[in-house]
């Protein structure tokens, strides 16, 4: 279980994360959603012991992220937003070093199975610099799973992945959570949060502005959106609870309208008046 209690991080006078409190249950896939600069990555960096909070506290599996850093490091795996593979080493060498750092038992077998899982076994002796961006993201995932962590942090895991590989990665993450692993994902891809996450926390300017399942969050704004462009070229949206309400709303508009199901971006727009991307 992951518990955040009023966790705060300031850079100068700017609050990157401002008093965020939430609880993530064991085996849950939890998404942190928000635009760039919302505080998602800073939250992840604090939970993964790279950054120390200025206020509040947080624990992972009852271990405090500041006082019990070594114990926290023992149970987490991280796919960072910035690729931190050693590009001059081979894929296998990268994983050997990680396995030794995390004292992985039977590391030879585990490296082979992790590489196989992400479809890179045949390229294990290739230098990482020769890999495409997508292959490097997959190798990062294989590395994070190598020590069989109880909690997996994925900071924008789908950046640079084509749709097919992205879906393969989602499958790996889903299967990973079935086995009781807790997964925390930051993303600004709406469909990723909706496809993967049991619950989503929406961050804006360092503050947690909404927290619930994707379905309930959408219900709070209305399950259907009627949208059109007005005479001045602005996108106008009407949120409706039911399909009938949406139809009736569309019929009242003097413009050509689109009726569609609401998504998490609509929730964000409704709450903040801004778009995520």
């Amino acid at each position: 279980m992951i518990v955040l209690e009023g966790i705060t991080k300031k850079y100068g006078h700017l609050y990157a994360v401002d008093g965020v409190s939430l609880t993530i249950e064991r085996g849950e896939v939890f998404g942190l959603l928000g635009p760039n600069g919302a505080g998602k990555s800073t939250t992840i960096r604090m939970l993964t012991t790279l950054t120390r909070p200025d206020g509040g506290k947080a624990s992972i599996g009852h271990f405090d992220i500041v006082k019990d850093r070594d114990k926290v490091r023992n149970i987490i795996g991280v796919v960072p937003q910035e690729n931190n593979l050693d590009r001059e080493l081979t894929a296998r060498e990268n994983l050997i070093i990680y396995a030794l750092l995390h004292r992985v038992p039977d590391w030879r077998e585990r490296i082979a199975s992790s590489l196989d899982l992400v479809g890179l076994l045949e390229r294990q002796d290739s230098i990482v610099a020769e890999f495409s961006g997508g292959m490097q993201r997959r190798l990062l995932l294989a590395r994070a799973l190598l020590a069989n962590p109880a909690v997996l942090f994925l900071d924008e895991p789908s950046i640079g992945l084509d749709p097919q590989i992205r879906r393969q990665m989602w499958d790996i993450v889903r299967n990973s959570a079935i086995n009781g692993r807790t997964v925390v994902i930051t993303t600004h891809y709406i469909e990723e949060a909706e496809a993967l996450c049991h619950r989503v926390g929406i961050l804006n300017r360092g503050r947690l502005i909404a927290l619930d399942t994707p379905a309930r969050l959408k219900e709070t704004v209305g399950n259907y959106v009627v949208e059109h462009i007005d005479a001045e070229g602005r996108l106008i949206q009407h949120f409706c609870r039911t399909r009938e309400e949406a139809r009736s709303c569309a019929a009242r508009q003097p413009f050509a309208v689109t009726v569609r199901e609401a998504n998490l971006e609509d929730v964000f727009v409704k709450l903040t008046g801004e778009r995520i991307e």
Binding site: T49, P80, N83, L89, I96, L101, R103
Partner: protein
């Protein structure tokens, strides 16, 4: 048996070093500075100048070993730690691993020592070829090891403190370069004015140069070894604290 935490840190740097070793240009770049000094000063003055009754070349070679081991150990570690922390972010993988700050530090220091010892070995071989009177002694070995250790540890400190890769060059220009020229590499310290001497004796390379030219461990040799070890311990604990307090 559990693998000690420093092993993967050292292994990563060693794989890099081994790959570079097989690139001819790398060996030349490690050698070019000391070899130029060797030929320019050593062969130019070697037969004409005697210091304490020995050929200047025999005096110069241990100094070049001290200077080269300092340069290579320091530059490798400072560059590696700085680049991996600020640009490649691979250092964060060490920070997020369940190993102690001492393990990270020891791994980096050992990698720097290997680099420093390798560069020294090339000059020692050159010395044996060009100056038959040149010999190795126990004080030479102590000085070389202590020098590689403390300058590798200094490299970690600089790599952790600097906020850009260019900044490491500033430290080199203000700390490493003056030491290379003023701490007894090229000329004996007894010819330096007294007022400067008291400052020069504060620098660790001065004590490396004193110790590395000794044939036996006399009182002065023990004092210099003590100073080098003191610097090593101070740099070690400073580096450990910087890694322990890592915060982005």
């Amino acid at each position: 048996m559990k693998t000690p935490g420093w092993v993967p840190v050292f292994l990563k740097e060693f794989i890099h070093f081994r790959r570079k070793l097989f690139k001819l240009g790398y060996i030349f770049s490690a050698m070019v500075g000391p070899v130029i000094y060797f030929f320019a000063f050593g062969l130019g003055l070697g037969n004409r100048v005697k210091i304490d009754g020995v050929n200047y070349l025999v005096f110069l070679i241990p100094g070049l070993v001290a200077m080269s081991s300092m340069n290579n150990a320091y530059t490798w570690v400072a560059g590696t730690v700085n680049l991996s922390r600020l640009y490649f972010k691979t250092f964060q993988m060490f920070i997020q691993a369940p190993i102690s700050s001492s393990s990270i530090l020891i791994g980096e220091i050992l990698a720097g020592m290997v680099k420093g010892l390798f560069a020294s070995l090339l000059i020692i071989i050159l010395g044996f070829v060009m100056a038959p009177e040149f010999f190795l002694s126990w004080p030479f070995a102590y000085a070389l090891l202590a020098n590689c250790f403390l300058f590798s540890a200094l490299g970690v400190i600089v790599g952790m403190l600097t906020k850009s890769h260019e900044e490491t060059a500033t430290y080199s220009n203000f700390i490493i370069m003056p030491m290379a020229f003023f701490c007894g590499t090229f000329f004996p310290l007894d010819r330096i004015p007294l007022i400067l001497k008291s400052i020069i004796y504060l620098f660790p390379l001065t004590h490396t140069n004193i110790l590395i030219r000794k044939t036996v461990m006399d009182g002065e040799a023990w004092l210099s070894l003590f100073v080098l070890l003191l610097y090593g311990v101070v740099f070690f604990f400073w580096g450990k604290k910087l890694i322990n307090d890592y915060d982005e």
